[in-house]
């Protein structure tokens, strides 16, 4: 059986089981006798083992099997785990993950770590031979089922005529052995199955060479009834039922008097599709979903286009039709986005292990509490949030939480607390990570910022503003880089990542009491509201969330400021830069009137006015993330396709603001 097409499914499902196993093991380390968790751990290992075995990943299956052997007696007796057993299981889990990674990368399965296998053997041997023997039948999950009365020889002879039944299992059937066994059982209900080729044992193991099964059945029912029973089994083709000669071989030479017609045409196979991405947890092809999302967004774009056309005609029926199309497209969008949602647990699942390992390495005691894991997020968001969240957690353990001794000295509980909470607020999600550690001391931060040259000496900042200095690039509170926080990578990276996702991060911190980071994000990333603008020959899109205002400016509103041209908006003067200049395009003569698009940092005030020829409308666009190439070409964050088929680049507002800031100091010299 060609299993390669099931590999992506295997990878994704096995990965989830390993994540689940990790959660249980980390929890079991604290409460080693929790029965439910022992059972769950067993279930995860068992699933990985049986899946790996059926994918022919020998080493993976073997290791999972050995680990299962370690868990199995605890499951049977309820005995709590010893600390070394948890360590062994976690090490085994890591080795399983490493094997999965190789398999995912189309590499051969790696050899199993000899040290680990030796430790496992020692442990299992110490536990007595019963443990090692316990799993001689690899895939049977519990105590052996009482023998079903279907063994050919196990029954008293039954009177009746002898029949030969032959069937071919269709190629689309994924479990041909089980399929043949269904046929076996249906026939056994009508008489006695006296011969089976391949053997019943082979069928149980899923072996069905050439997908063909031959059975000899003794039954008092007629051939027609047997035939109906055979026809009642799905996924069979070319089956036939024929009276057999007594004592003859199952391969009866007699022609079938009334060979039944082959089963109807096999179900249509869906057209070829790209293999799903390993690791995605939605059990439908991820690419297919992405296609739906794109198609729906294009549909919404098309609707905008049609709306514009319909408005130009005085045709109420047309306008009503377009309106209904819009409603339908919107409803479709809601549904499609729902399918893309995955529980936040996908994102938070590996934190318990991470916290455990980091705490152990740093001599800390930390209790992680996670709530709101059931909140559902767009799977794109889950992927994009993964790294920032890990970074924040590491940050809390590296900089926030104190050692038990330090905590006692401060009169705190020796065990530090780290709380992660997720909450959905309409179309946004809020994630907060709170520790009860040392907090951020404004004076210390200020001094550090001065020392590394981020602030001039003697700068005066409010407490909150000083604390927020930790978000500046190049800021680090410790002089030596710690193992996991890494060198020179700080909270600025987290903030930038969130801004890219259309979100923001805030911090509240009380020195000595702890720090809370609050992340606020849109629930979905795939569909973006954009403002379309025309600049020279270019039609470009700006994310609407980042546009504070668009206004028409006349030359009289423009003036030359110290850093370059400025535009007067209300009582404020904002730097004014033609968008084309930021794209490195040559500028024509300034137009008599142009539009200024005010943009600024996320959730901040306008900090820059972009000059464009005109605003051509707004759309909902299916965002296609910028590849590396597009990012290098210019300040672009992605692209989309309009309803009329025109491709449009989506501008990255942060990159534009950065470009404008870089260009500014040069301008006085040019002027």
């Amino acid at each position: 059986m060609d299993m390669s097409k099931y590999k992506p499914l295997f990878l994704s499902e096995a990965g989830e089981h390993l994540d689940g196993l990790e959660t249980e093991l980390v929890a079991l380390e604290r409460a080693p006798g929790e029965q439910e968790r022992i059972h769950e751990a067993f279930r995860h290992l068992h699933s990985v083992k049986s899946m790996a075995a059926s994918m022919d990943y020998e080493h993976l299956a073997h290791l999972a099997h050995r680990l299962e052997d370690l868990v199995s007696p605890h499951r049977d007796t309820g005995a709590p785990f010893a600390a070394e057993e948890i360590d062994l299981l976690l090490a085994g889990l890591d080795a399983l993950r490493a094997s999965l990674r190789c398999v995912a990368a189309d590499q051969p399965e790696p050899e199993l770590p000899a040290g680990l296998m030796a430790d496992l053997d020692t442990r299992l041997r110490a536990a007595g031979p019963a443990r090692v023997r316990a799993r001689s039948s690899p895939a049977s999950p519990g105590p052996a089922a009482p023998a079903a009365p279907v063994e050919p020889s196990a029954q008293a002879p039954v009177a009746g005529a002898l029949y030969t039944v032959e069937a071919q299992v269709i190629a689309e059937c994924s479990l041909p052995g089980a399929r043949a066994l269904v046929l076996f059982q249906r026939l056994a209900a009508l008489g006695e199955v006296v011969g089976c080729e391949p053997s019943l044992e082979e069928l149980r193991l899923g072996n069905l060479p050439e997908r063909r099964v031959r059975l000899r059945v003794r039954s008092q029912r007629g051939a027609d009834e047997l035939r109906r029973a055979v026809e009642g089994v799905p996924e069979l083709a070319a089956q036939r039922v024929a009276p057999a000669a007594e004592g003859g071989s199952p391969r009866s030479p007699q022609p079938a008097p009334a060979a039944s017609a082959p089963a109807g045409p096999s179900p249509p196979e869906p057209g070829p599709l790209p293999a799903p991405t390993p690791g995605s947890s939605v059990r439908v092809r991820a690419e297919l979903l992405d296609f739906f999302v794109d198609a729906v967004a294009e549909l919404l774009g098309l609707r905008s286009h049609l709306e514009a056309l319909a408005e130009q005609r005085d045709d109420p029926a047309l306008q009503e039709g377009v309106r209904q199309l819009g409603t339908l497209a919107r409803r479709l969008q809601d549904r499609v986005m729902q399918v893309r949602m995955v529980p936040a647990a996908t994102l938070t699942g590996r934190l318990p292990r991470l916290v455990r390992d980091l705490a152990r390495a740093r001599g800390l005691e930390v209790e992680l509490q996670v709530s709101g894991e059931e909140v559902e997020l767009d799977r794109g968001l889950v992927e994009a949030l993964d790294t920032p969240l890990l970074h924040l957690v590491r940050n809390a353990l590296d900089h926030g939480l104190e050692t038990p001794a330090e905590r006692r000295a401060w009169g705190k509980e020796p065990v530090g607390r780290l709380r992660l909470h997720l909450e959905r607020r309409q179309d946004r999600v809020q994630l907060s990570l709170e520790d009860d550690g040392r907090g951020i001391d404004p004076a210390l931060v200020l001094a550090r910022a001065e020392a590394v040259g981020l602030l001039p000496p003697g700068a005066v900042l409010g407490e909150r503003a000083a604390q927020e200095l930790v978000f500046l690039p190049g800021f680090s509170i410790r002089t030596e880089a710690s193992e996991s926080a890494g060198r020179g990578v700080g909270l600025d990276v987290v903030r930038t990542a969130l801004q890219r996702l259309g979100g923001r991060i805030e911090l509240e911190s009380t020195p000595g009491r702890g720090t809370r980071f609050v992340l606020d994000l849109p629930l979905t990333l795939a569909i973006l509201h954009v403002l379309l603008v025309q600049a020279g020959e270019h039609l470009l899109a700006l994310p609407s969330a980042r546009v504070l205002r668009a206004l028409t400016v006349r030359p009289s509103q423009l003036s030359q400021g110290p850093g370059g041209p400025e535009v007067l908006v209300g009582s404020r003067r904002l730097p004014f830069t033609p968008l084309l200049a930021l794209l490195g395009e040559r500028l024509g003569p300034p137009p008599a009137a142009q539009e200024a698009i005010l943009v600024g940092p996320p959730e901040g005030e306008a900090s820059l006015a972009l000059g464009v020829d005109r605003v051509t409308g707004h759309r909902e666009a299916a965002l296609r993330a910028a590849g590396a190439l597009l990012g290098r070409l210019g300040p672009y964050g992605g692209s989309t396709v309009l309803g009329d088929g025109r491709p449009v680049l989506i501008l990255d507002v942060d990159a534009l603001i950065a470009r404008a800031a870089r260009a500014a100091p040069e301008r006085p010299g040019e002027a």
């Binding site: 499914l9 068992h46 895939a139 999950p141 089922a145 994924s174 149980r204 089994v233 179900p267 249509p268």
Partner: protein, 126 residues
């Protein structure tokens, strides 16, 4: 009268998936259960015409639930739902008395073929 189905699976996604397949074909989803214990309880309450049963579930697995339900009602029609790679569990469930099986990821035409054939087979006196 519409055929009444009890869907048993610990993954809401899979339950939803099956539910949509059944509802689109005019079946009535009488209830859902997310583990074997719940499955047996709901079977007693709802007496559905058909059960779709996941195998690997918390508390009580689908094979044990199949045995328990068949002990209550030997005529119960149980279709095992399995992820690929659990062939030995599927064969165990079939030998425990399950009527047939379907394999995840579900293809609607496959699910319906199996279900319809099982219903037909059950109507014929065995």
């Amino acid at each position: 009268m519409a055929t009444r189905v009890l869907i048993v699976d610990d993954a809401p996604f899979m339950r939803q998936n099956l539910k949509e397949i059944f509802v689109a074909q005019g079946f009535e989803v009488a209830g859902e259960a997310s583990n074997g214990v719940e499955a047996v309880e709901k079977y007693k309450d709802l007496k559905p015409d058909l059960i779709t049963m996941d195998i690997v579930m918390p508390y009580k697995n689908g094979i044990q639930a199949t045995r328990d339900i068949l002990a209550l009602d030997s005529g119960a029609l149980i279709i095992i739902c399995s992820a690929l790679g659990h062939e030995s569990l599927v064969t165990e469930a079939i030998e425990a008395g399950a009527t047939d099986f379907i394999v995840k990821p579900f293809r609607p035409e496959n699910v319906l073929q199996v279900v319809k054939k099982s219903l037909l087979a059950r109507r014929q006196p065995g």
